[in-house]
């Protein structure tokens, strides 16, 4: 039986990333994907929002500047958007890199402008994560939450509401539920 190479929904890279053909990834040279990451349709990743380097520090930069760095086994649902945050610092407006660790699930239509997202984080649908927010490990963000800018969310929190507040704690038994390896395996047909 010959296998027809059909044009499927996802492109699978050699590191195991499954990227949908209908996603909009801008500035791909500045985006690092850790491997086994799923990017669904209509996901926007802004790799073009880079840190504006001044002339004095240009000698240190080697290779491409990183705008978005994503870890392994992440899952970006349909319609979500990853944007590196930017602010006016000492007279000039520049963007800062967005770093996402492993096993991060982002729900549909959520907007992420955080500075740092830790591992094993589950973000619900229609959320807005404000600029320079720092989310630590094992956090669950409920659907529709608006996390205010500069907020630090400690590990094992459940965050909800507008503005986002810590409404509960993640139980010890839920820790294994954040693992996204099974979810990755279920995504089919490249």
């Amino acid at each position: 039986m010959s296998k027809k190479v059909a044009k499927g929904e996802y492109i699978e890279t050699d590191t195991g990333n499954k990227v949908s053909r209908r996603s909009q990834i801008i500035g791909t040279t500045n985006i690092i994907l850790g491997g086994k990451t799923v990017i669904q349709a209509e996901v926007i990743i802004r790799g073009d929002l880079l840190r504006t380097l001044s002339s004095s520090t240009s000698d240190k930069s080697s290779g491409n500047p990183v705008a978005v760095a994503i870890g392994r086994y992440c899952f970006f649902s349909r319609g979500c958007e990853l944007r590196p945050p930017g602010k006016l610092y000492r007279g000039s407006f520049s963007h800062y890199p967005l770093k996402i660790a492993d096993h991060v699930f982002v729900g549909p239509s959520s907007i992420i402008e955080a500075a740092l997202i830790g591992s094993h984080v589950s973000i619900g649908s229609n959320c807005v994560i404000g600029k320079f927010a720092i989310i630590k490990d094992y956090v669950r963000i409920l659907d529709g939450t608006v996390v205010p800018p500069n907020m630090v969310i400690p590990s094992f929190s459940v965050v909800g509401g507008r503005p986002g507040r810590v409404v509960g704690e993640v139980a010890e038994g839920e820790v294994d539920g954040f693992d996204l390896r099974e979810v990755y395996r279920r995504v089919g047909n490249s």
Binding site: S54, L88, Y89, R90, G91, S92, G130, K131, K136, D137, Y138, P148, P149, N150, M151, V152, I153, P154, S155, F156, S157, P163, R165, V166, A171, E172, G173, E174, V175, D176, G177
Partner: protein, 584 residues
């Protein structure tokens, strides 16, 4: 609003707390115990709400071999830390400084978002702008609602240590007299009262080293309390100097009362009696704000009312905003930034045997656990889904009076295979009783071994493959039609069985024979969540475990004893929420 099926487990801790104490009852306790066994679990009872938990929230005690819920564990604090700066606070500091962050972590009083410190200076421009450091007065800014501490008139000199600077400034810029300064001032005054200066006019001059405190000062609750307390302590000491009670205030053994009492013991009883009869000095009340007196003037009320009339309702603080403040804040301009409450890392302990069930690492940055005994690793987990997969996009309700089949999957986490017995009452408790039938009440679930381990044990991969195919063939025979007494499908460590549900009709008014007993008694309108079908299931799990003992210095006889498998069983109630009944 879609319904996801859920499984909740009941913690046995609630059963022992049932109020079965009937004083003077002649029934023997044996009868009561059997009564408990027969009584089925009613998930709609008000008490049930407090004993049902999803499996992820439960812990398991290995010594007691019992499930422990969040209500029956004892919490002990491992570390205190600030949720904003993630800085660990030693417990001694928590006891002295209180349970809030004392660095620069504040929440906006309007919207509870985090505040950031920024300079009020204009940003530098031109060449070398990125190297210029700003040193202007600093303010706290909210990025969510654009509130700034300028709105209450507070600015800071340094960008660090905002907590200390904030405690010294009032809303509006005027300095607050801190309790420490008040105490020092009081001590200065009392030390010099013996040699108080009094000039010819009879006016007491201000002593050097004390502050110029206004006798009609408007005090806040804390300073008023400390002033009053100090005043009454001094009054008590003054009015009864010769009393045997030498324990007023913090005078200790040096108080005049104690001294006279001890001297009286040495010189004889008669002298002490006479001294006790001496008249107690009269105590007076506080005279001015220095001593803690606050006179409410009618003018202050008028001031507030006028402000209200001129500024309107928008300027008043809401109930949620006022709750967070430590003082009575009526207006938005009275609100002060709220320091973050400290958060804790807690370890959980079993209530009966004091065994530690969960212990996180004490460092804030590490998310590992030293000990983590969760119920997920000990009891089989249950998941529900309908046997016929529902059509996508449509809200799936259960049609009343139509038999629907659900698939229950039991996953075994233990390294030994378990025998599971499930039972449920024929009809669900509550006003609308749905009929439930379990097609296979007894089955065995395999052990949670790795695929490799099983392959090695069987002696070759072919053996296991053949076995898998065989069981699949068996399962496919029953695939189209669920048969009573047969499992639906089996995997390495999981088994799925079929449960048939006949949902009740939600009609309240109907022919008498169709309505349940409870409905006849109570025929009010449909209450919230009454249309959800909740099935109480009693699960009994039996397995044979190696009797694990600590000391393994084994003589052959002793080691043989240890190999004897110990039969263990665990029984508990759970509630399966399968779906909502459609209302037409």
């Amino acid at each position: 609003m879609s319904f996801t099926p859920y499984t909740y487990f009941q913690c046995p801790c609630t059963e022992s707390n049932l109020p079965t104490r009937r004083l003077g009852e002649s029934t023997p306790t044996g009868e009561e115990e059997s009564d408990q066994d027969d009584r089925t679990f009613d998930p709609r009872a008000p008490r049930a709400n407090y004993s049902l938990y999803p499996l992820e929230h439960l812990l398991y005690c290995e010594d007691c071999h019992q499930i422990r819920c969040p209500r029956c564990v004892l919490d002990e604090i491992v570390t205190w830390y600030c949720p904003n700066c993630l800085f660990e606070v030693p417990s001694s500091t928590v006891k002295s400084e209180g349970n809030r962050c004392t660095r620069s972590c504040f929440q906006c009083p309007i919207c509870v978002a985090p505040l950031s410190v920024s300079s009020t200076e204009a940003p530098p421009e031109g060449l070398g702008a990125e190297h210029a450091t700003q040193s202007g007065p600093y303010v706290l800014n909210c990025a969510y609602c654009t509130w700034s501490s300028k709105e209450i008139g507070i600015q800071f000199d340094k960008p660090n240590g905002i907590f200390a600077q904030l405690s010294k400034i009032q809303n509006g810029g005027k300095p607050i007299v801190t309790p420490r300064e008040r105490r020092k001032d009081r001590e200065e005054r009392t030390r010099d009262t013996s040699g108080s200066t009094m000039n010819e006019d009879g006016v007491v001059e201000d002593l050097p080293g004390t502050m110029n405190l206004d006798p009609h000062e408007q005090l806040d609750a804390e300073s008023q309390f400390s002033n009053l307390k100090a005043f009454y302590q001094s009054q008590l000491a003054d009015s009864s100097p010769a009393s045997a009670l030498g324990f007023t205030g913090e005078y200790g053994y040096g108080s005049p009362g104690a001294l006279s009492r001890i001297m009286g013991l040495y010189t004889g009883g008669s002298f002490s009696e006479k001294k006790a009869k001496s008249k107690k000095g009269a105590m007076r009340e506080a005279q001015d704000a220095l001593e803690g007196l606050q006179i409410t003037s009618p003018a202050s009320e008028e001031k507030a009312v006028n402000r209200l009339l001129s500024e309107g309702w928008e300027s008043t603080a809401s109930a949620a905003q006022r709750k967070e403040q430590s003082h009575n804040a009526h207006f938005v301009s009275d609100l002060r930034p709220i320091a973050h409450l400290l958060r804790t890392k807690r370890s959980k302990r079993c209530r009966t045997c004091r065994h530690i069930l969960s212990k996180p690492e004490s460092k804030v940055q590490t998310t590992r656990f030293r000990i983590r005994l969760v119920a997920l690793n000990y009891i089989p987990s249950i998941s529900i889904k309908p046997l016929q997969p529902a059509t996508l996009g449509r809200e799936t309700f259960l049609t009343p009076m139509k038999p629907t089949q659900f698939l229950l999957t039991f996953k075994n986490p233990l390294f030994d295979s378990v025998k599971v017995n499930i039972a449920t009452p024929a009809s669900t408790p509550g006003r609308f009783a749905s009929k439930v039938t379990i097609l296979c009440p007894q089955f065995e679930v395999g052990a949670n071994t790795d695929a490799w381990e099983e392959a090695l044990r069987e002696g070759g991969g072919k053996g296991t493959e053949r076995e898998k195919k065989r069981t699949k063939a068996e399962a496919s025979e029953g695939q189209n039609q669920a048969e009573a007494g047969k499992i639906w499908e089996r995997g390495r460590n999981w088994v799925s069985v079929v449960v048939e549900v006949l949902p009740a009709d939600l009609k309240i008014a109907g022919p008498a024979f169709m309505r349940s007993e409870e409905l006849k008694k109570d025929d009010g309108p449909l209450r919230e969540d009454e249309d959800v079908v909740e099935i109480p299931v009693f699960v009994r799990v039996e397995w044979e475990a190696d009797a694990a003992h600590d000391d393994t210095t084994g003589l052959t006889a002793a080691s043989r004893d240890k190999e004897v498998k110990e039969k263990r069983e665990l029984a508990y109630w759970c509630v399966l929420g399968v779906g909502k009944i459609a209302q037409d």
